[in-house]
Amino acid sequence: MFETMLSQSTFFAIMALFVLGAITALFFRKDDKLANLASSFFAILGSLLGIAYSIAAINSDAAIFYEIKSSFPLLSFNFNIDHLAAFFIFIISLISLFCSIYGIGYIKHYYGKYSIGGLGFFYNLFILGMLCVVTASNILFFLMVWEIMSLASYFLVIYERDKQENVKAGFLYFVMTHIGTAFIILALLLMYKFTGSFDFFAIKESAGSIPPLVKDIIFILALIGFGTKAGVIPFHIWLPSAHPAAPSHVSALMSGVMIKTGIYMMIRIFFDIFTDIPIWWGGVVLIIGAVSALLGVLYALTEHDLKKLLAYHSIENIGIILFGIGSALSFSSMGMNSFAILGLVAALFHTLNHATFKSLLFLSAGSVISKTHTGNIEEYGGLIKYMPQTAFFFLVGSMAISALPPFNGFFSEWLTFQALFEGIRSMGAAYRWIFIFSAGSLILTSGLALACFVKAFGITFLARPRSEHAKQAKESLFSLKFGMAALSAVCLLLGLFSGFLSGIFNNIVRGIRLFNGYEPAFSVSQSHIININSGFSSLSAPAIFVVLSLAGIAALAITRLLAKDQKVKIGATWDCGTDLGPRMEITATGFSRTIIMIFKGILKPSKQAEIEYRDANMRYFPKSRTLVLEISDVYRKYFYKPLYNFVLKISGQVKKIQSGNVNAYVLYIFTALILLLFFAV
């Protein structure tokens, strides 16, 4: 069955389905319902086929390579689907399946306001672009589809163009992604120059002929370029504005899948194309990962826009994925490829997990926002009574992202920890401390993420409504609930089957050239016990689930035993004698203020207080008080603004060439012509 699945026609059928989705969406753009149905239908079909195809590809051992020559000289449409690419196709298809199902109901909010046909067109184009990005095997083709993916997502970000901040966010995203693309082009062109070919396979063959200094430069350029897409600090400034601006199912795709394409290319370049890896690469990636993780979660704590909070958590989780990649780089440069496999398995597992729980969180957030018409957490409250299923799914997502067993986040973080522990044990002096720093950052991040999601879930769903918006919320439509429910189930299943999945990831990683033929440092037993390094650590995912369930049942049983006849009375919350109102509850600002003040060196909060007195001379009785709490954006202020001013100043100088005088322009052409003739001849 798998073999029939795995044919060229299937792959191109997937592409064709998304193209059809895009075209039919445009075709039906006059009719909102039809456009929605058409684009969603084809997207769902394409995703299903994609899931089946990628599972078949991962199961088979054959190398799959499709090539379509084009009439342009160096450009040929090469697709290479090895295990790594198949895995990413799986992630893309899985998440887009549930997002598309969710979208059927969610898009109804846009009927009559914006063009549904345009949304469907760019949505399908976006997914198609991502699928091509992870399978492209030719530099020029890759850059083409990378650009398609970025452009499609840009149009999706500015979809709700009536809101000014969305347009600004889109512009920032556009600029940042093209800066990243510039770095990527530089890196890829350097690779072309030293290997003489645009084809990834040919580059792999002659990767040894690239001199070490050039390899280091390519590493830095690729790290910056793909890091901008992935959202590592300090190139992340587009993420918190762009992800909230897009429609929620698109935010889920962008945050869960698109930033992973940066990770995919990093893995492809660092591990598949290059072989000899200098030791400092791993250190750099680990440090960047540590900084991204910690700062991502700290900024998430300061946010009170639900989607921005989730966007900062994406930055944090990319940091965690970079821990896995960094440790893999360090281990392979020391020759300890077995542990490098462990690190990379942890990174891939976390990629999959983050895609699922982050999409789940964004979909739930979208459900909440679309019903309450505001994104500000401070106006929520008590939504668990109005939207109980959404609340439950958000709870599952929160538990998964905070790495609480038995959900999937715990197991990938466990694997990452194991890779870091091994690094602490076996690395030399300097690198050991980088690993210790990384491990410390990871545990601190994990604790802070838990705090942040207590805040997010608690303030949003629990207690009493804090505003009229919240009181009018209602539960979402079935398609939204279905998408969220399916993702929650996936989170749980991925957690339960961690052992099995680790085995599959092992196969995927061993398909990468650097790790061909190495045994991993972990093993998975028949009873799903993951055993690291012959006894250093072990755990069993199903056992944890069973133990927790049994413990919960035991607690219930004891209570039932001891307290059979007791009644439960419903009363009011203790109100200290006053009337209960929404101002009695804690606010999100108040909740996280303690942590912000503890980290004030990093976050630089500022407080501005103004008082207006009834009698300006005798300042006893205030009439009104205003308090403004702000977190300064350190990156904007110290990194981007000086850069921006510098570029602006230089542009001002260059502007003087444009005098407005026609004769001057012709003079420029003339001089250029003569000079060119000189140098050419």
Partner: protein
């Protein structure tokens, strides 16, 4: 067969003894304050009383409030089954990993904090906020102190650690001692003892744990109090069995087991005494002083790691 009995004792002993532990601490503190103090079995009476009372639940509370006590108590039960108490020859490859138990306990913290927020009262909100602040910073010191033991003994499985540390030479003990200091600070933080939290206060300025559970009553309150006591005993057990595992039963023989249980009880008593002395001797610290203390615990553990490898 014998192993099954040992396992049953292992699972039951911690929940059974934890109220006693709390009672002993209170008694010692009372003595320090020149009072008679309640009997050391008073917490059992309290639990019994609470289980037989009716409950009042706020109308603003949701199913989280109702479910949380079971989650918290279940978490402590799950962890009790995964840590070495009096026998290190048992093997638990499934859940006996340091990261696993830290995160299972985090489930309890998560639901407790949510329950505090659920009722929408002023106390629960800031209680959750303070608790999450302290807890997120304490996890680092806790993990790293246990990590020192892992590096010294070459495994992160708790049972194996206790078996290995038992047979260590005195020379390699310095990192263990440093790690223990770090661990002890984390213990005080996680179990809501001085100087982090006062377990018997209900003043707005000073409560953390008590603020979150202030709306609970009846059987749910009983569960939470019991879970809190169990958490205290879990941490005491970790300290005694992992850092000072002498006397722990290494083999499946009746004398070894009985000796192991007795030694465990003695060590737990010493810990209770230490905690009670600290609680009577120092004052609770201001909230913004606590991160410094937690960072200190973290640094101690890192120094210990630096010494081991």
């Amino acid at each position: 067969m014998a192993e099954i009995i040992i396992w049953i004792i292992q699972i039951l002993i911690l929940p059974a003894l934890s109220p006693l532990c709390v009672g002993i601490i209170r008694k010692i503190k009372a003595r320090f304050q020149n009072r008679q103090g309640a009997s050391i079995f008073q917490p059992y009476n309290d639990l019994w009383k609470l289980f037989h009372k009716d409950e009042v639940i706020s109308r603003d509370a949701s199913w989280i409030f109702r479910f949380a006590p079971f989650a918290i108590f279940g978490a402590t039960l799950a962890v009790s089954a995964s840590i070495p108490i009096f026998a290190s020859f048992l093997s638990n490859n499934f859940t006996g990993d340091i990261l696993t138990i830290i995160y299972i306990l985090a489930i309890g913290t998560f639901f407790l904090a949510l329950a505090g927020l659920d009722v929408g009262g002023a106390f629960g909100g800031f209680g959750s906020s303070r608790e999450m602040t302290v807890s997120s910073l304490a996890e680092g010191g806790l993990l790293f102190s246990l990590l020192v033991l892992s590096f010294v003994s070459g495994t992160t499985n708790l049972f194996s650690i206790s078996g290995t540390i038992d047979s260590l030479s005195l020379a390699s003990l310095l990192p263990v001692v440093l790690a223990f200091l770090g661990f002890f600070i984390a213990l005080l933080a996680e179990t809501a003892r001085f100087p982090f939290d006062n377990p018997s206060t209900h003043l707005e300025l000073t409560m953390i744990h008590e603020a979150m559970i202030i709306e609970y009553s009846g059987k749910r309150l009983a569960l939470i109090e019991w879970a809190s006591a169990s958490k205290l005993l879990i941490f005491i057990t970790l300290g005694s069995s992992l850092f000072f595992p002498w006397g722990i039963a290494q083999s499946l023989s009746l004398s070894a087991i009985i000796f192991g249980i007795l030694v465990f009880l003695a060590k737990a008593l010493i810990f209770c005494l230490a905690i009670a002395v600290i609680e009577s001797g120092i004052a609770k610290l201001r909230l913004f002083r606590l991160p410094d203390l937690l960072l200190f615990s973290f640094i101690l553990s890192i120094i210990a790691i630096g010494l081991t490898i």
